[in-house]
């Protein structure tokens, strides 16, 4: 057991930091206050990701046969950590390299791989996840957006909600219902967002401009070849994707960086001498490091080629705990940061407060831990 990064991993991290230093504008911290799905950051990311691709660090963790360098899960982790600490300058494109690309590679048809992987590798595509619906949030399997196969086309009717990136996305990774079977009746369709019949409305939010939307599908028609996987295979594919997604955002790194920044601000104002504040800050640091180590234990499983199971829910919940305490610490002791005193801490707050909701609510993670890690007998249905 070895808790230190190897020299090669340190070097890889340094390479990314150097790249960020050279390629993020001087006013980046203020700029990153624009939400990750905002028009400003999305436009920035389209240029930034091209540079990442040119430097070979857009998807270096992908296997060589996918055009990557086959660097592996630890490098993916390091890349994600450095990007997230910096305020995720890849915008929504982080999803592409974390899970959409690998999922396309695993389940896509040759045609889908040709069509979608190449723009991802050029840093030129933006996806959204059409998962949640007004009556299907945590209970995702109750979704009702219907896809009917009519003369070789799928005709889609329904509504999605709380969809990140939908305003500017090119393609939607859409969950639809093709039969009444609760889980086996769900099918993924890859829908170009400029298909007639799609209406996107922004939902104003606390977490940054342009982030959250509702998306309406009114007789949206796409060819049968837009189906991803088989009819009814969505649940299996999404479980695979979400396990990557849960691990994909190393939120604890930004939480820890935000904590250090908050402590620095308190120190500069002579307010970091009170014992209670110091102890609270240490509690936050402990939870950030707790999240880091439990996430690393899951990354190790991936590095060993083992299946990632419910451990990712445990790691994810540890991350939610860390995000929560850091957000609370900052607001309690530095209320001015949400009113403009620190764009960086405001950016953290906007991203941190959704940690318990995104990629499956924290309570769903607890259900998974109870059943699959602790192996408690199941609740009656």
């Amino acid at each position: 057991m070895q808790f230190e990064w190897t020299a090669e991993q340190d070097e890889f991290r340094r390479k990314i930091r150097d790249f960020l230093h050279a390629n993020l504008p001087q006013d980046w911290e203020a700029f990153s206050e624009h939400g990750p799905a905002s028009p400003a950051l999305t436009a920035f990311a389209r240029e930034f990701c091209v540079k990442l691709a040119e430097a070979g660090i857009l998807f270096p963790h992908w296997p060589v046969e996918m055009g990557g360098e086959g660097l592996g899960p630890w490098e993916q982790q390091i890349l994600a950590e450095e990007m997230w600490i910096a305020g995720e300058p890849r915008g929504g494109q982080y999803m592409n390299v974390n899970w959409i690309g690998p999922t396309l590679q695993k389940y896509g048809t040759e045609d889908q791989k040709r069509r979608y992987l190449e723009p991802i590798t050029r840093g030129q595509s933006l996806w959204c996840q059409g998962f949640s619906e007004p009556d299907a949030g945590s209970d995702l399997a109750s979704l009702r957006t219907r896809a009917r196969l009519v003369d070789g086309n799928y005709v889609i009717d329904g509504q999605k909600i709380w969809t990140s990136y939908a305003g500017l996305a090119d393609t939607c990774f859409l969950l639809t219902r093709t039969s009444d079977d609760r889980k086996k009746g769900i099918t993924i369709i890859l829908v170009p967002m400029d298909t007639p019949g799609i209406t996107v409305r922004q939902i104003p939010s606390l977490i940054g401009e342009g982030d959250i939307h509702e998306v309406f599908f009114d007789e949206v028609t796409v060819p049968e070849s837009a189906r991803f996987g088989e009819e009814g295979q969505a649940w299996e594919i999404v479980a695979y994707s979400l396990r990557n997604e849960r691990l994909g955002i190393p939120r604890f790194t930004l939480a820890r960086a935000a904590l250090d920044r908050a402590v620095q601000m308190l120190g500069e104002q002579g307010r970091f001498s009170r014992e209670y504040v110091r102890i609270e800050a240490a509690r936050c640091a402990a939870l950030c490091e707790a999240a880091a180590t439990t996430n690393y234990a899951v990354v190790q499983r991936r590095a060993d080629g083992r299946t990632i199971g419910a451990e990712s829910s445990s790691a994810r919940y540890a991350t939610v705990m860390a995000e929560r305490v850091v957000c609370e610490f900052v607001v309690e002791f530095l209320p001015e940061v949400l009113a403009g005193a620190s764009p960086y801490l405001k950016m953290h707050h906007q991203r941190g407060i959704v940690a318990g909701i995104a990629a499956g609510s924290a309570e769903i993670q607890l259900n998974i831990i109870a059943s699959e890690v602790l192996e408690l007998p199941r609740e009656p249905r």
Binding site: Q2, E4, V263, P380
Partner: protein, 306 residues
């Protein structure tokens, strides 16, 4: 980064499993508040399990794994200090070893008995002496702490001084307690999970009620992270990691112990169930080294300066 157990580590842990198997079960009803086994202690010593820190290919992480594993047993073993702190002071110090803070000589001392080595750690340095009967005040016979505990009735005038940095001993002490707590937390959780999975009320197992499931799942998250932070602290040897690991362990203790007794109904209060052996050890460890407040301050200083 390599968080998989090495072959050597797996072998050591498997050997401890075999050796400790006779001690995994608890005699119910006739168990005293404290459960110890001289035979278990002797075989751990004989097989060198408390000396792995000094073995090159094993080192501090393996020592921590040994301590964590042993802490899961219902039997109290003085392993943590011997395995993780003693090597810094003097490998030949006779066991059991009792650590005492110079500033808190009145705290209950675990494993204190005639012949034990008492190590006093404080700003004036690190010193030790052999405990003798007339300098030991017994704890009340029904103390629930589930460790053998007693009080120091006085300190000798001329203890043996050790040329070791007291800050370094404090660091290792924190790692030792965090690691022992990790094992205790793991055993207490497993024991509670087993109970609520079997115990039926309202026609179904208690574990099927979400009121318990979510709390236990949260307990799994913190228990798991206490384990990893303790191992990382053992590996890194930094003051910050040690303070964070013990802070997190003591936070976890505060969170889970009350819940577990609650989930067992009255049984954890009676000696029908061994839960108290882990929870009350945890409670005593949650006060060690000044508890969460002192760990928090120590961590803050190590991370961000004074």
């Amino acid at each position: 980064m390599q968080l998989t157990l090495s072959e050597d580590q797996t072998q050591v842990l498997d050997s401890i499993d075999s050796l400790a198997r006779p001690y995994a079960a608890v005699p119910l009803h006739d168990a005293s508040f404290v459960l110890e086994s001289a035979e278990l202690d002797a075989s751990l010593v004989e097989n060198g399990f408390l000396d792995v820190l000094a073995v090159d290919e094993l080192g501090p992480v393996t020592a921590a794994l040994v301590v964590e594993k042993l802490a899961r047993l219902p039997f109290a073993v003085e392993a943590a200090v011997s395995a993780l702190v003693r090597p810094l002071i003097d490998l030949e110090l006779p066991r059991p070893i009792c650590l005492v803070e110079e500033s808190r000589p009145g705290a209950p001392v675990r494993f204190l008995r005639p012949g034990a080595t008492v190590v006093v750690v404080g700003s004036s340095g690190v010193s030790s002496f052999t405990a003798v009967q007339d300098k030991i005040a017994p704890a009340s016979h029904d103390t629930p702490y589930a460790y053998p505990v007693a009080f120091l009735a006085g300190l000798p005038d001329t203890p043996t001084r050790h040329e070791v940095d007291p800050a370094e001993v404090l660091r290792a002490w924190r790692v030792a307690v965090a690691t022992e707590a990790a094992g205790l937390l793991g055993a207490a959780l497993a024991s509670t999970v087993s109970h609520v999975s079997e115990r039926r009320q309202f026609g179904r197992p208690l574990a099927t009620f979400q009121a318990l499931r979510h709390r236990l799942a949260e307990d799994q998250v913190v228990t798991n992270s206490v384990y990893w932070l303790a191992l990382r602290a053992a590996a890194s040897g930094t003051a910050a990691d040690a303070a964070l690991a013990l802070l997190h362990a003591q936070e976890a203790t505060k969170r889970v112990c009350y819940d577990y007794h609650q989930f067992l109904g009255g049984m954890g209060m009676t000696l029908e169930h061994p839960l108290h052996l882990w929870t009350y050890r945890l409670k005593l460890l949650s006060a060690e080294l000044g508890g969460r407040a002192d760990q928090g301050l120590a961590a803050a200083e190590a991370l961000w300066g004074k």
